[in-house]
């Protein structure tokens, strides 16, 4: 990228993207530069709201996870996990150890599935000058094959552990409905080991991609690792030094409604905040396994990194982490034999919060139950909701940085689109 830096030449630019492609859901980009000055830079969500919080009211606890999984097709496992965790917190249920491991394994499958989908199918085409990954099938069958194999492995993990890839069935209040077959687990373990060459090739591919240089200081929010890189539950932390309990999530999100958006916005110590792979890594780098750290070093990613487009790289680093961590989990699960995976559940009136790191960032479900085990009140705060304001402010800064001589509408449109895609926004989700 050579177009960064200030220039005295007055330039006029105009970017209007209606329903940005290769993102989940519907959003618009609008940037105006007049005489070298950014007069407008907007990221607007235009998705149709679905009112999940309202639909949850009166639902039995056994239905809550099934319903909220449908908030998002890509991170349905994460939603289901946050949901059952909130219900368990409300009822005071502690799940068996084997169930916690199975849940993390399912979570890893989803992280891989979503990250690989994003890296190969949604993000990579911009770097390769393509409109989609479909032509790769003929242009570069090798890369297409790698993408397909890695994504299939990820989906098969979810299928085995959660009963299905999209909209899980086995993740239930109390634990996980069944322990997968031992041989099936070992087969997945074997495939995970054999996926290493594909992972290495992916790292090599991403090394060759030129990531536009753009930095804006940001506050990153994530779960706080205590002993491991965190995915399910725990304390909340930000790179500006804020720390809270899981149940105090509202103090981390501070949602407000913007009149142009169906999605709400969020802030903490600054006017906006960011969540996602980069936020997790910035807060928990030390807990990555050695293989993942090596890839981070190789790709030039060190905490705290304030370059939003490096979220792509952070996702790849996380993929490496979860592949090796899944092998560890399977070994432990196989050793535990036929361990119990469900705890007894007795619903009672109360409130519970579940925080889960889904691929696009930290997700909160918060339920209040009546004595009959039916939801009285519910609140869900989605990662993209937390990111939208940050994307918006990034867009302004990016437009300012690149509004100089030689810039064209097309090029700026691509840069803005790449910025938004780097956040891997899940818009249907954020509007739920």
């Amino acid at each position: 990228m050579t177009t960064s830096g200030k220039n005295t030449k007055k330039i006029n630019l105009n970017v209007d993207v209606h329903h940005l492609t290769r993102v989940e859901g519907h959003g618009n980009i609008r940037v105006r530069v007049v005489d070298g000055k950014v007069t407008e830079a907007r990221w607007d969500i235009v998705e149709t709201p679905r009112f999940f919080e309202v639909m949850l009211k009166g639902k039995h606890y056994t239905a809550a996870g099934i319903l909220t999984a449908r908030i998002c097709g890509i991170c349905s496992i994460g939603h289901c996990l946050a949901s059952v965790r909130a219900s368990e917190a409300a009822f005071g249920v502690t799940i068996p150890e084997a169930a916690a491991k199975l849940r993390l394994l399912a979570k890893h499958g989803e992280t891989m599935q979503s990250h690989f989908l994003h890296l190969f199918f949604l993000a990579a085409p911009d770097f390769l000058g393509l409109t989609s990954a479909i032509p790769l099938k003929d242009l570069n069958p090798e890369v297409f094959g790698i993408a397909a194999r890695l994504k299939k492995l990820a989906n098969d993990i979810c299928d085995l552990v959660a009963g299905r890839t999209t909209h899980p069935v086995s993740l239930q209040v109390g634990g996980v409905a069944k322990m997968p077959d031992r041989h099936a687990l070992l087969e997945i373990r074997d495939r995970l080991e054999r996926s290493v060459p594909d992972l290495t090739a992916t790292v090599e591919l991403f090394k060759t991609l030129e990531i536009p240089e753009f930095v804006r200081e940001t506050e990153f929010v994530a779960l706080k690792g205590e002993n491991d890189y965190p995915f399910i539950g725990g304390r909340l932390v930000s790179t500006d030094g804020v720390e809270r309990d899981e149940s105090e999530y509202l103090a981390m999100t501070n949602e407000y409604v913007d009149k142009n958006n169906t999605s709400k916005w969020a802030k903490l110590s600054r006017e906006s905040l960011a969540v996602g792979a980069l936020a997790r890594l910035n807060n928990n780098y030390d807990f990555l396994n050695d293989q993942a750290k090596a890839v981070a070093v190789e790709l030039g990613l060190a905490p705290v990194c304030h370059a939003p487009l490096m979220n792509n790289v952070a996702q790849l680093v996380e993929c490496v982490h979860v592949v090796y961590d899944s092998i560890r989990l399977i070994d432990e699960l196989v050793d535990s034999g036929n361990a119990e995976t469900m705890a007894p559940v007795k619903p009672k009136a109360g409130r519970g919060v579940g925080a889960v790191e889904v691929p696009r960032g930290i997700l909160y479900h918060d339920y209040e139950y009546g004595d009959d085990g039916r939801v009285v009140r519910a609140n869900c705060v989605i990662p993209t909701t937390q990111n939208n304001a940050n994307i918006h402010y990034d867009m302004h800064a990016l437009a300012e940085q690149f509004a100089c001589e030689g810039m064209t509408d097309e090029r700026l449109e691509l840069l803005c689109s790449m910025l938004v895609r780097a956040y891997d926004p899940c818009i249907s989700c954020s509007v739920h």
Binding site: H19, T21, R22, V23, E24, G25, H26, T48, P49, R50, F51, E53, V54, M55, K57, K59, H60, A63, I66, L67, R70, I71, C72, G73, I74, S76, L117, F121, L122, P125, T131, S132, A133, I134, K137, F144, A148, R149, K151, K152, N155, A162, G163, R164, T165, T166, H167, P168, V169, S170, Q172, A177, K178, V257, D258, K259, T262, K264, S428, C429
Partner: protein, 250 residues
């Protein structure tokens, strides 16, 4: 795409998303073992979730999601005019899906509760078939990629379209799954249309009926069974309403 060196016709397909979770669209990029062949067999004209290509010259429109805003009605009608074949993909498109659960609540109140003083435009959820003529329905939450592939096979080679008249129980038995009723749980398998290969009972969850009714379901016997097993009318109704496919018996 050539088979035995003969050029095949490739159906020109466009995918359009309305209000839903986009899980159905995601299925199109799944089933990776046949993804290359699937993409070879079709021409992708529009598929916003994974491609920036846009065009109007499609024959087949795959619609996912339900209709919940006035502008969606207009957009859907315009698609209907261009498409030779319009397929409702998934339970949201076929029945309204879980999105339809909101119709049981006061929408103004719902709006106030979620958005405070900035209410968002919303109308009662409709299925795609409530707005335009649908040529083919592929219910399921999510849609089965297998069934989408079979639609493509029908278009290319005239192979028969997928039809499952029988209920989920049949596929469930073929997998040797222990019946959820025997575990003391409710299951809509006896009245729900098969084709999903019964993943829910196998994964430890009774069927929630996402695919809607099988052909001529024996409701009377099912209600009697549910009652005999001790499930309340409310419980059965809650479940029948969940994905919107059983409106006729509610």
């Amino acid at each position: 795409m050539k088979h035995l060196n003969i050029e095949q016709k490739r159906p020109r397909i466009a995918v359009f998303d309305f209000t839903g979770c986009e899980g159905c669209e995601l299925q199109l990029a799944n089933k990776e073992e046949t993804l290359g062949a699937f993409l070879d067999a079709i021409e992708v004209i529009n598929y916003r979730e994974v491609s920036s290509e846009k065009g109007d010259n499609y024959d087949v429109a795959l619609i996912d999601g339900a209709i919940t805003r006035p502008d969606e009605i207009e957009r859907l009608k315009a698609i209907r005019e261009k498409a030779k074949v319009l397929v409702a993909m998934g339970s949201c498109a076929c029945f309204g899906g879980v999105t339809k659960l909101k119709n049981a609540y006061n929408l103004d109140e719902a709006n106030r509760e979620v958005y405070g003083d900035c209410p968002k435009e919303t109308i009662p959820t409709m299925a795609v078939g409530d707005v335009v003529t649908v040529d083919l329905k592929l219910p399921g939450c999510p849609v089965s990629k297998d069934e989408v592939e079979r639609v493509v096979q029908h278009l290319v080679w005239d192979l028969p379209l997928p039809t499952y008249a029988y209920p989920v129980c049949l596929q469930c038995k073929q997998r040797y799954t222990v019946c959820r009723f025997d575990m003391g749980e409710l299951c809509l398998g006896p009245i729900t249309r098969a084709g999903c290969n019964a993943p829910c009972p196998a994964g430890g969850l009774g069927c929630w009926g996402c695919r809607g009714p099988a052909e001529n379901p024996n409701y009377e016997e099912f209600f009697a069974l549910a009652k005999e097993k001790g499930f309340s009318e409310q419980e059965v109704k809650d479940r029948l309403a969940f994905f919107g496919g059983f409106e006729d018996v509610l």
